[in-house]
């Protein structure tokens, strides 16, 4: 059997195509997102469980300015990511790179605001196991959930910079940028649940 025959029979076996007509790399990202959804869902359900079962749950947040700004930045960075992907699909490499770096800058700004908020809470006496307002479990759950999200944002910023640079140099394609964009939108999506559950439900009136 010649090489061409072997390739032919191999191709014939692949005529069904990839699952859901999605390229393998994109499918892998979707599977990762589903698995990560389970991780965040478990954390948020555990957080809700502990919060509901604890009578003296603290409500330490008195201002929504910081969290509103963080939300605005993250949602806007999703839009800039989309603009980058659209530019990449139309073959405009420079514009795609620029929007991707703007997205990464948005993510970095979000992370800085988040760390600033953490430091302010730590300054007020909040640690993983104790705080001045009520049950010590609050610190563990707050830092746990927001820390996991912050870790994802940090990883996303690094990925955006790495993929953006490789895309600009011609090593990666527009599809690779789109796959990284999927991850970034997922990070944004998780924040939509973290904000109401962890911040807005704990506003001190």
């Amino acid at each position: 059997m010649s090489h061409a025959d072997t390739m032919g029979s191999h191709s014939a076996g692949m005529t069904a195509g990839p699952a859901f007509s999605v390229p393998a790399k994109k499918m892998a990202m979707w599977l990762f997102i589903i698995a990560d959804t389970a991780t965040f869902a478990a954390c948020l359900v555990a957080y809700g469980f502990i919060r509901n079962a604890t009578p003296n749950w603290p409500r330490p947040f008195h201002s929504i300015t910081n969290v509103a700004l963080m939300t605005f930045i993250l949602i806007t960075s999703s839009l800039t990511m989309l603009l980058g992907i659209e530019a990449a699909k139309s073959g405009d490499k420079a514009r795609a790179f620029r929007w991707t770096m703007i997205t990464a800058a948005g993510g970095a700004l979000f992370a800085l605001l988040h760390i600033r908020e953490w430091l302010a809470l730590i300054d007020e006496g909040m640690t993983l196991f104790k705080n001045p307002w009520g049950t010590g479990l609050f610190g563990a759950t707050f830092f746990g959930v927001t820390g996991l999200h912050l870790l994802h944002v940090t990883g996303g910023v690094i990925a955006l910079i790495a993929v953006g640079i490789r895309y600009q140099r011609g090593r990666y394609s527009a599809d690779d940028l789109e796959i990284t964009g999927l991850y970034w939108h997922f990070v944004d999506l998780v924040w939509m649940f973290v904000v109401p559950l962890v911040y807005l439900m704990n506003l001190g009136h």
Binding site: F20, F49, T76, L82, E86, K89, L182, L200, M201
Partner: protein, 102 residues
Amino acid sequence: MTTAAKPQSGVGKYVVVYFCILAIAGLQFVVAYSNINSSQMLARMLFLAIIEAALALLFFMHLSDNRGLLWFVVIFTVFVLLTLQYGWTDSFRLSGGVPWAR
């Protein structure tokens, strides 16, 4: 001209969805300051968060373009979320002791 117009319409759609998500996020902040009990507040906020997430999934992550993948993601995720609910009621037993304690 048509090839140049296509990405523009895509961007236009994204901008509309972006403002919708921003508006819904804003509504969550309004709900946070409304004078309702915690259960009602949680229900309303989760409802709004689900709409936001659905918009992001469908339009930002392009699931609206692939029905097969959409169902795969939805069924898989809903299954995981449902399986996480089995111990939820126990939190009420811990705080109130009834009626799930019996």
